[in-house]
């Protein structure tokens, strides 16, 4: 159990870090993040927690992809006329 607790806390920290760049603002992101973590705080089943951790890591990847695309699009719009 305690090892999972550490993983979950680390996940929360990493998600907070990813939220700094969120287009609708960090505060908006943090509030949502807290809500989803709180929603699942009563989950105790090992398997279920593992699945939630997996989902959290998936969200990190999704955010990364979104930021990359957003940056690429902004640059393309600003610097390349044919877009």
């Amino acid at each position: 159990m305690s090892s999972q607790r550490r993983v979950v806390l680390q996940l929360y920290r990493e998600l907070l870090f990813m939220g700094r760049e969120y287009p609708m603002g960090f505060l908006f992101f943090r509030e949502r993040l807290r809500k989803v973590f709180q929603k699942n705080k009563t989950v105790e089943d090992y398997e279920q927690i593992s699945n939630l951790i997996k989902r959290g890591n998936f969200v990190i990847k999704e955010l990364e992809a979104m930021y990359k695309l957003r940056k690429y699009r902004t640059l393309k719009k600003n610097y390349y006329e044919d877009s």
Partner: protein, 255 residues
């Protein structure tokens, strides 16, 4: 291969920030504004990291010139995969007058001192949009240069580069040592994750001054005035096709 790559990482106002011009028209507001690494430099760094992963290079040195906050930019670069950083300290207000000529001179001295084989830079920075540093540096070092590069292939002692030019692509081959400036389509830079940023804190980061390198950074150009782009004018509503035609004719769109 023990080739060393130097990558320039400029700290610029973040691409997503709405730029505001200072009321006295001497520049743009930078205080309290989010900064990040110049996106074209990120692309340059990503390419260097890929060359290292392919064992074509052995070490990546990242450089940033500017105030102390540049060290954050260098940390990001180290987190992405660079090996060590050099911060050339240029405090404000000198930094505001730092121009491509001086930066190129700094990079030249560092390339010589660190025994660099390949310099990779972003084609331009998104703040001043100069697009000069790589070109000037290539001249100073007397090394070949590939600008606006969208593909890099190393073949023995030569590098085949694909350049984005007006209306098409150009393929060139340059010898090593050389300078490369990265275009947008070269690659997709990786994201500096939190665990990697933590690990990067252990990497080496040297600090020096332009004077230590024997570089005079006195500006050669004077910024006369910085102004906002013209505001888009309001449109007009027209009643029917005839009045639309009349308006367009008045504006000179028909003969």
């Amino acid at each position: 291969m023990s080739r060393r790559i130097l990558v320039g990482c400029k700290r610029v106002i973040d691409y997503a920030v709405k730029i505001r011009v200072k009321p006295d028209k001497t520049g743009v507001v930078t205080e309290g504004v989010k900064h990040s690494m110049n996106p074209f430099d990120e692309i340059a760094l990503e390419e260097a990291i890929r060359l290292k992963e392919k064992k074509i290079a052995s070490e990546i040195v990242v450089v940033s010139c500017g105030p102390s906050q540049c060290q954050e930019t260098l940390r990001t670069a180290l987190a992405m995969g660079a090996d060590r950083g050099i911060h050339v300290e240029v405090p404000n207000p000198e930094y505001e007058g730092l121009q491509p000529l001086a930066v190129a001179r700094i990079l030249q001295r560092l390339s010589e001192r660190e025994k660099i084989d390949i310099v990779i830079l972003g084609k331009q920075a998104i703040d001043d949009d100069c697009n000069q540093t790589g070109q000037i540096l290539s001249g100073m070092l007397d090394w070949p240069i590939g600008t606006f590069v969208s593909k890099v292939e190393v073949e023995g002692e030569r590098i085949n580069l694909t350049r984005e030019i007006d209306g098409g692509l150009e393929e060139i081959s340059v010898g090593i040592p050389c300078v490369i400036t990265a275009d947008l389509r070269l690659n997709e830079p990786r994201y500096a994750t939190l665990p990697n940023i933590m690990k990067a804190k252990k990497k080496k980061l040297d600090v020096c001054k332009p004077g230590d390198l024997g570089v005079d950074i006195t500006p050669r150009l004077i910024v006369v005035s910085v102004e906002e782009p013209p505001v888009r004018e309001a449109g007009v509503k027209v009643e029917d096709a005839q009045s639309l035609f009349d308006v367009l004719k008045k504006e000179g769109h028909f003969n």
